[in-house]
Amino acid sequence: MLQILANGIITGGIIAVMALAFTVVYLPTRIFYIALGGVYAIVPFLAWTGLQWGWAWYVAVAFALVIGVMLSLGCELLNHAWLEEKNASSGTHLVSSLGIYIIVVQAIAIIWGNETKVLRQGVDGVFNLAGVTLTQAQVGGAAIALLTIGSFYLWLQSTKLGLEFRALADNKNELALRGFSIQKLRLVAFGIAGLLSSIAALLVSWDVGFDPQGGLAALLLAVVASIIGGSQSFFGAVLGGILLGILRSQVVWFLSAQWSEAASFAILALFLVLRPQGLLGQKLRLESES
């Protein structure tokens, strides 16, 4: 029982990092950043290539992270910022983001091929804590996820930039009227999202491997997590992620891994009916008021 819970919390932690990445862009800018799945997909391939070239693991990882962040910044600079200039609707942003995702994934498939790859060979070491068996990858993953989420919160709550960021999520216009560059803050948002999703991608691919198609599935989990936790707050995304991880691991245990998709959907459906604003969400004002 505890084992399932532990597995769930750890996978949940990684989902939470991705959910945070998604929310970090969605909350302040209302952009549905589908291309984040592309960032998620390409980063492990970059790390893999680095390893193939004989680099030390930390160099390969750093390389992958930097490119991931740059790709994310590129999405904003070359795409979304332009659309914003033209006052594009959110659907337009979404379609363009989908287009970028497709281009990135196909580029990956053309350069690296379509098969699943792994970042490491061999069997993992295992730890035994209080009757729960955890692999090295799991423990490492949990630690890094915790560190990442923790650092993000520290940054958000105690730094100047973090405050500006929170203000951006609250009221973009009022922030602009106080002389703060919305353009710069949006770049910060996309940069952080790129970093977070790259970390999540590396953690997952270290554990189970990766393929070009994994991005959208991970993004879907992230979106479900943020809906469950409440898409109006950063913390909601994290909570939703952990909860989703726990629930999914229960399902995988009692049914089988094949039904985890159905499980995610069922959980989402349940929440939409019972508590559509998510766990931490608040009653929404009527969207029609303009």
């Binding site: 405050l163 203000a167 999520a169 216009n173 009227l177 106080r178 002389g179 009916v273 009653k283 009527l286």
Partner: protein, 509 residues
């Protein structure tokens, strides 16, 4: 009115009747957004033939209340009962799980529209833009056979017959409403006044017997208002039950028709007598803002009135005997579009240091759009120059750097930040004494008055050469108004541009 609208009342004098039938009852309604209480135990009932004016300060919850009564917004607790002679349908909140899952019997706007026969109109009309005027009306017909895809394919003749009948009736009704000849115009090409009439006719077409009208007179010219008010008179005479929210300057027109006034204050509902409220209102609408300007000018300055396109007046108070150098603000041919509609066009004026400019414009004119456009929050056509340099291509924060400051009327806080953080962002180093007590509170948890204080304190944070204020006196009491007026310096280095609500020039209250 044609007989489509409502069954004729069998009583001759609805106001005095003892046996008024109650159409709707609501009790203990409680609505809360996060830490903010909008409605705090509101109860009352609506009887056939009532004409209720719903009043209250901005943000007092009038819109949320109306939305709840129309089935759009689910209150946190309380209940609503819809009555129809023998039948009654009651809703208690919060809805239980079974009730939420039950797709047939929900608390939804369409249910309230069909069973409660409640119709709501929205500010600005909100016609269906891609449909013609005629289609806008006919689409509202209830129980159309053709609205079921199966029947529209399998029974085309019957569908066609029904459709033709409705179209003929709709064209006749449009004539009565003064819209003949416009049936086939696309709904986004008609004027605001016509659009409002279409919206009212559309909602009447659903055989509604309770109308919830949200600022139907907003943005209309004198002729438009007269037509709509005449329409309301006829509807009242035919026994329609109406709840109307109107802006304070348009209230006197509708208070004449009202049977009662509901006032929302601090989340509570008070029922007041229409005649008393009307008298009080007429007393307070004594152009006090204009008097203030004259006091400000005194003998040191003079007032110039410029008429702007669309029925607004820009009253500029200038210090006497001062040589004007370079203008601080030049607006040339400004135009603003909101969606497909041209909200403002051809706005031009010039302001110099030391002046105070007040834009008197009726509700719906576009005061907020104008100030937002100058500040850079809205795209616009035309040119805007600050100190001689064009700024209309700059982003909002760049304009702020150059010395523009805007105090907005709504949506002007950071709900999830602490007061201290909001002040810090505004550049306020030393919070004033009256804010010290709630520095650590979250902004959304403050009361309306406290929020306004914080917003005011924020304007002291940055020095600016152009200070714009959008309806700054809106949510304030007398002391607050005095404070803000004292803040505005006349004859200094800055120029002020203030937007205030007013009647259309030439109209007497």
């Amino acid at each position: 009115m044609n007989n489509i609208i409502v069954k004729q009342s069998t009583r001759t004098n609805t106001k005095m009747s003892e046996t008024s039938s109650v159409l709707m009852r609501f009790y203990n309604l409680f609505i809360q957004y996060g830490a903010q209480k909008i409605l705090d135990g509101v109860s009352g009932e609506l009887c056939q033939g009532d004409f209720i004016c719903l009043i209250g300060a901005n943000g007092s919850g009038k819109t949320s209340f109306m939305n709840a009564l129309a089935g759009y917004l689910e209150p946190n607790s309380g209940g609503i009962v819809l009555l129809d002679n023998a039948d009654s349908k009651s809703f208690t909140f919060p809805r239980s799980l079974w009730q939420r899952l039950n797709i047939f019997d929900g608390f939804t706007p369409e249910f309230f529209a069909t069973i409660g026969r409640i119709g709501k109109t929205w500010q600005g009309g909100r016609s269906f833009a891609t449909l013609s005027i005629l289609d806008n009306i006919v689409v509202a017909t209830a129980d159309q056979l053709g609205e079921n895809p199966l029947w529209s394919l399998l029974m085309p003749k019957r569908v066609r017959r029904q459709e033709l009948k409705q179209r003929r009736a709709a064209i006749a009704a449009l004539v009565k409403f003064g819209l003949d000849g416009r049936e086939n115009s696309s709904a986004d090409k008609v004027s605001l006044g016509q659009g409002m009439r279409v919206a009212i006719l559309r909602v009447l077409w659903t055989c509604a017997r309770i109308l919830l009208l949200d600022e139907p007179l907003a943005g209309l010219d004198a002729e438009g208002k007269a037509v709509v008010i005449a329409l309301l008179q006829e509807l009242k005479a035919s026994g329609m039950t109406i709840v109307i929210v109107e802006h304070v300057f348009n209230l006197p027109h509708v208070l004449d028709l009202a049977t009662a006034v509901w006032k929302l204050e601090n989340g509570k509902l008070l029922v007041e007598d229409a005649a008393m409220v009307n008298a009080e209102l007429r007393r307070s609408l004594d152009h006090s803002d204009r008097v203030w300007l004259e006091e400000l000018a005194g003998d040191r300055g003079s007032i110039t009135d410029i008429e702007l396109d669309g029925g607004a007046v820009l009253s500029i108070v200038s210090p006497n005997g001062v040589e004007f150098g370079q203008p601080i603000l030049e607006v040339q041919n400004l135009g603003v579009m909101r969606g497909n509609r041209q909200v403002l066009s051809n706005i031009s004026f010039t302001l110099y240091a030391g002046q105070i400019a007040v834009l008197f414009a009726p509700n719906g004119y576009g005061k907020t759009s104008l100030l937002d456009a100058i500040a850079g929050l809205l795209p616009c056509s035309g040119r805007v120059l600050l100190n001689g340099k064009p700024i209309h291509r700059l982003s909002a924060w760049e304009r702020v750097e150059r010395g523009i400051s805007l105090m907005r009327a709504r949506d002007n806080i950071f709900p999830n930040l602490k007061v201290r953080e909001m002040l810090w962002l505004s550049g306020v180093a030393d919070p004033p004494d009256n804010i010290q007590p709630f520095l650590e509170k979250q902004v959304s948890a403050l009361s309306g008055g406290e929020k306004q204080r914080v917003v005011l304190a924020c304007t002291h944070g940055r020095s600016s050469i152009l200070q714009m204020m959008d309806e700054p006196f809106g949510a304030l009491d007398a002391i607050g108004v005095k404070e803000v007026r004292e803040m505005i310096e006349f004859g200094g280095q800055k120029v002020y541009l203030i937007a205030l609500p007013a009647n259309i020039s030439g109209e007497k209250t």
